[in-house]
Amino acid sequence: MSAVIELRSVSRVFDSTPPVHALRAVDLTIQAGEHLAIVGPSGSGKTTLLNVLGLLDRPTSGTYLLDGIDAGTLTDAQRAGLRAARIGFVFQAFHLIAHRSALENVMFGGLYQGVNRLERRRRAIDALARVGLSHRAGFRPDRLSGGERQRVAVARALAVEPSILLCDEPTGNLDSVTTASMLELFDGLVADGLTVCVITHDLGVAERAARRVRIVDGELSEAAPVVETVP
């Protein structure tokens, strides 16, 4: 297996008084096909880590390799290109666009890769089928349930055909039943060979991941026993 993501002593310091050390010399390698959960309490640096991994934020120091490409040496435009082509985001708040149908929302995946409309449509139809929502393609988000909305968001991330799916509290707005079906969906995607990284503070969600890392006060520790991390 090759590494999709490689962090080498990555730090992120926010310039405030006093400076906030959100990440302290984090080392993390995610192999292709892995299902990883990053857990930690609020304010532990989880979101900062996700932003760095998602190329939404630059680390203050350290090296970040995505698919072997050193993201630190890239221009903003190239980082945007990398983000467009290789990272699929799933957010807690779904971030679907209200006045577009499910299919149109999924078609946003690949929009900024310069993929033409027909190809994006084809990909979107496939992605909706993968999350089991083909029958809802023409529905607007306000007519979908919470679980269906998150599935549409996952389909949008899949339509990117990403190297890694980065999920930020994907079940944070869902009830337990929907959460369970969401986790089954992730299991299925991992089984298909997709690399999935889930950031969560939910015990059940973390347990489903094959590998867990814990972040506390910006420091990452491998294979922390999940039970003890939950307050």
């Binding site: 090759s2 292709a32 932003n51 998602g54 939404l56 934020d57 698919d67 072997g68 490409i69 890239l74 221009t75 903003d76 435009a77 190239q78 945007a80 290109g81 990398l82 983000r83 467009a84 082509a85 990272i87 985001f89 957010f91 708040a93 971030h95 666009i97 006045h99 577009r100 149109e104 946003f108 995946g109 929009l111 900024y112 890769q113 310069g114 033409n116 409309r117 990117v160």
Partner: protein, 408 residues
């Protein structure tokens, strides 16, 4: 996995940008339409103002106004028997035709008591062959100055004047009355006791149709036979707009030593007054149009700013999906420009319709420069572009991390 050699920047295809722009505009159709209102009103009032002033300006050039506006008449001022009453010369063409703006000029006088006009020298007791008709003395330029036309034969020239030839041109109505149909038989007529050869028949005299029922003889013959020494009036055809200038110059040219003794009937200028009134109204409406355009721009800026703030999380999402700042700016600029463009199209249409309706009500011919309605849509788009600049910059400056959390 092989390491890619280059990492291409993200792209936003033009056709996709166009799609996104349309989707953005039509996401809230009512709001978009209301946003265009300012631009519509502004551009419509600009077009109505310019179009109506153009239309009204063109109406002055109808036939009646045109005839009056192109005519200057000089007469001798009668000073009630006092010394120094005005004297007009006969040879007006040489004095006036050199003036810039004069098209043609000629002098004319009525011959007083010329006696009956007959075609035969008989004294007919029954009077059947006698006609009392006006007899006019004229200078060679008169025919052109009256916009006259000769149907048959010719008008007289300076040679006839110099020789004081007894020749006459008669109007077509009189020719019918006298039974003169052909000139090749060298017809003639008696005015009083003097014989004149008829050398031409005039069938048109736009400025003085009385000529068509008259006998016109040369000024020189009139002087010799009827002792007509002075023309009564000088008719000058001027170029449009030259009336005022010629009216000032003509008396000096005709009577250099005593120009004040001549009276000038210049084109009365209701046109000038109309233009002044129209000018005031015009600038007011132009100002109003510009003000509503500015208000329209502020409206677009406002709504776009609200839209940007409403769509903060969408902006964050787009950034996460690989959009660069310029892609975000392009999208919002495109949306505001599209709203401005639609406003321009609607404004041009409304403006043209109003010009046509007002023209129809007033019985005018609508006149509109083609470029005006064609320029309105790009002008509207430009207004939208300018108005969208600040909101677009605001949108582009948002940090994706913050935007995804709904903070701008």
């Amino acid at each position: 996995m092989s390491t890619p050699i280059c990492t291409p920047p993200s792209r936003f295809r033009l056709v996709d940008a166009f799609d996104e722009m349309l989707a953005g505009v039509f996401a809230r159709p009512t709001r978009s339409m209301l946003t265009t209102l300012g631009t519509v009103l502004g551009l419509a009032s600009l077009i109505v103002t310019l179009g109506l002033s153009r239309t009204a300006g063109s109406q002055i050039i109808d036939q009646f106004d045109e005839l009056r506006a192109s005519q200057v008449v000089v007469t001798a001022r009668s000073s009630g028997g006092q010394q120094g009453s005005g004297r007009l010369p006969w040879e007006v063409e040489t004095r006036l035709d050199r003036l810039n703006g004069v098209v043609a000029s000629g002098a004319i006088a009525d011959v007083a008591n010329p006696g009956p006009v007959r075609t035969v020298a008989l004294v007919d007791p029954s009077g059947d062959y006698e006609h009392v008709v006006p007899v006019l003395a004229a200078s060679p330029g008169l025919l052109d100055a009256l916009r006259g036309r000769i149907a048959a034969g010719r008008w007289f020239d300076q040679g006839h004047i110099d020789r004081a030839d007894r020749v006459a041109v008669i109007g077509v109505n009189l020719a019918q009355e006298l039974g003169i149909r052909r000139l090749d038989v060298q017809p003639g007529l008696f005015v009083g006791d003097t014989f004149f050869s008829v050398i031409g028949i005039a069938d048109e005299a736009v400025r003085d149709r009385g000529l068509l029922g008259s006998v016109v003889i040369t000024s020189a013959a009139a002087a010799e036979v009827f002792a007509v020494t002075r023309p009564e009036r000088v008719v000058i055809e001027v170029e449009l707009g030259a009336g005022d200038v010629i009216a000032a110059q003509a008396p000096v040219a005709l009577a250099p030593s005593a120009p004040e003794t001549l009276a000038v009937a210049a084109p009365s200028l209701p046109q000038g007054a109309r233009d002044r009134v129209a000018g005031d109204v015009n600038s007011l409406f132009l100002l109003l149009g510009l003000v509503s355009l500015v208000v329209g721009a502020i409206g677009i800026a406002n709504v776009t700013l609200v839209t940007v703030i409403e769509r903060t999380s969408e902006i964050g999402l787009r950034r996460a999906l690989g959009a660069r700042r310029r892609h975000i700016a392009t999208q919002f600029l495109g949306e505001s420009a599209a709203i401005g463009l639609v406003g321009g199209i609607l404004g041009a249409s409304v403006g043209v319709i109003i010009v046509v309706i007002v023209s129809a009500v007033k019985g005018w011919t609508p006149v509109l420069d083609t470029w005006m309605p064609l320029l309105a849509p790009p002008a509207g788009a430009l207004v939208g572009l300018l108005a969208g600049a600040y909101p677009a910059v605001r949108a582009a400056r948002m940090e994706p991390v913050d935007a995804l959390r709904g903070r701008d």
